[in-house]
């Protein structure tokens, strides 16, 4: 049976130490700029912090992956090129890229640097994946959250590269790298600016016991007293159409695959990605410890679903597209 690699988020140096100490096999992070898809205020790593993180993780046998996973700005690719050069100089274990220009640059300039294809590239079929492997020597592909487990199995049979799938956290119902929904009302998108629902456009308004969540002055949701809340993302908004109020795309919910780990292993998946570089140390500790247990149990042939409703958006979780029944 394949041993699943547990890839964990680190938004800050302290979160990295927590992830390493809690049982991560690899930790991923980004620089404090627009080169990574979690460009949130107060978050991410400076170059010296990445250097220290490498010492800490490598000293404990844990890999470090650097996400440079936004698309280089037209006319000014310098920050992205610099990020790739720094990653190579500091000897990260792999760099996670989406932009084909950057993949080409990394391949040509730093042939020893291991390349992972970011989910932002949205490569979801064998032809596209084989192209990235052939042209840029990509060693691992992070699959978009739109495939079912049988589809992942078929895909793995037709490619010769490691696949990584999302295991826990933000449940993005759109095809990654293709979604510009938030830019229609905020002018910013995850693909170009590294932010979906940027904090600068978010406001939380208490109306008595009710909570109203706004994005750029549009009301995304209203939660009644004691109703579990979620982030104000457009794809998880509650809207009124034809006198009916409800969730059009997706409810506030989080992905959790602890219950289907044996199926993912059987489908040939190599690594599991925990989402949440923007979340706290407490989140990283609990999720990583639980997944460590679940993976070790799965390797012993056990199936162990571990609910983590306390950390989940809307207080509920889902296996998302992996167990899709509506198509």
């Amino acid at each position: 049976m394949t041993k699943l690699e547990l890839v964990c988020p680190a938004g800050t140096p302290a979160a990295l130490r927590v992830a390493v100490d809690s049982g991560a096999d690899a930790v991923y992070m980004g620089f404090r700029d627009e080169t990574n898809a979690r460009n949130f205020p107060g978050l991410n790593f400076s170059v010296p912090e990445l250097d220290e993180a490498l010492d800490y993780a490598h000293g404990r046998g844990v890999k470090v992956l650097l996400a440079v996973n936004t698309y280089a700005a037209a006319g000014n690719a310098d920050p992205w090129i610099k990020a790739v050069d720094t990653a190579a100089r500091l000897k990260v274990d792999a760099i996670i890229l989406a932009d084909i220009g950057l993949l080409d640059y990394a391949r040509a300039t730093h042939p020893d640097l291991r390349l992972h294809l970011s989910v932002q590239a949205s490569a979801s079929n064998a032809r596209a994946i084989n192209h990235y492997v052939r042209e840029f020597g990509v060693r691992r592909v992070v699959l978009p959250r739109v495939l079912t487990v049988p589809e992942i199995r078929r895909l793995n049979q037709n490619i010769d590269v490691e696949t990584e799938v999302f295991a826990f956290g933000g449940m993005c119902p759109m095809a990654e790298g293709r979604c510009s929904l938030s830019s229609y009302i905020t002018g910013k998108s995850p693909n170009m600016n590294g932010v979906c629902s940027p904090a600068s456009h978010v406001s939380y308004i208490q109306q008595g016991d009710n909570l109203k969540t706004n994005l750029a002055d549009f009301t995304i949701n209203k939660f009644g007293p004691h109703e579990r809340a979620g982030y104000p993302t457009l794809c998880k908004g509650r809207f009124t159409t034809n006198d009916t109020t409800g969730y059009l795309f997706e409810e506030p919910t989080s992905l959790n695959v602890t219950g289907i780990l044996p199926d993912l292993i059987d489908a040939g998946v190599s690594a599991l990605k925990i989402e949440g570089r923007q979340r706290s140390k407490a989140y990283v500790r609990e999720v990583v410890q639980n997944f460590r247990q679940a993976i070790d149990a799965a390797v012993r042939g056990e199936r162990r679903a571990i609910p983590m409703d306390n950390l989940s958006e809307g207080g509920q979780d889902t296996t998302g597209a992996y167990n899709r029944k509506w198509m």
């Binding site: 938004g11 800050t12 140096p13 302290a14 979160a15 130490r17 927590v18 949130f40 205020p41 107060g42 978050l43 912090e49 940027p198 904090a199 600068s200 978010v202 406001s203 939380y204 308004i205 208490q206 016991d209 909570l211 939660f223 007293p225 004691h226 109703e227 579990r228 809340a229 979620g230 506030p252 923007q278 979340r279 706290s280 140390k281 407490a282 989140y283 500790r285 609990e286 306390n310 950390l311 989940s312 958006e313 809307g314 207080g315």
Partner: protein
Amino acid sequence: MTTSHQHPADDTFSPLLIAGLLTRPLPRGPLAALLRHISRRIQRNHPAILERLQPLAGRIFLIRPTDLPYDIILTIGENQVDFSLATETRPLPDADVVISGSLPELVDMMDGRQDGDGLFFSRSLTVTGDTEALLTLRNAVDSDEVNLEQEIFDLFGPLKNPAEKLAKAGGRVYHRLARDMTTLSRAITGPLSNRCRQLEQENQELTNRLDRLDKSLAKTRSRLQSLGRKAAL
């Protein structure tokens, strides 16, 4: 944004709320001294946090523990932070962000034992104001290992160890009391909540009925108008 000095009416019914009410007449001196100590320790021991906080220089956060009768003001300066106690005589400054929650949860969040987003999803934590400033503060504090509990015990000097033991025992008592309080609170408010839910349901049914009647009235009116027009012809 203007803030008032009143705590929300729906304060959590907890042991700390009662303890807070009992300690209200006590001098604020020791608590103010503790906050000054915490400010100094963060400045001395956590330069990485201060660096991440720099975009917030000049911002004011109001921390409102729902189970204590005190508000705490956090002011971010150039390479410094200042925690101070709001006093009844001094008017509260206009805060950029207001954070409300129970004291144990606020401390656990600051010490990295509780996830802030999780507390927000469960509605245990209330935040209003500048979300970007809030997020910057949260990420900055989370970027290093802050241990508020330890800072508090350090203040006890040679009595640190007994204080720690006492606090741990107190913590166990607190959690047991909190459970009892929740049970008691549910027992008191349960029947009322059920009645409220019932009334809400009845209200919803009446609203739906009214909507249906409105629609039917509109249809009847339109039919009558149409008949009227035909009769006129």
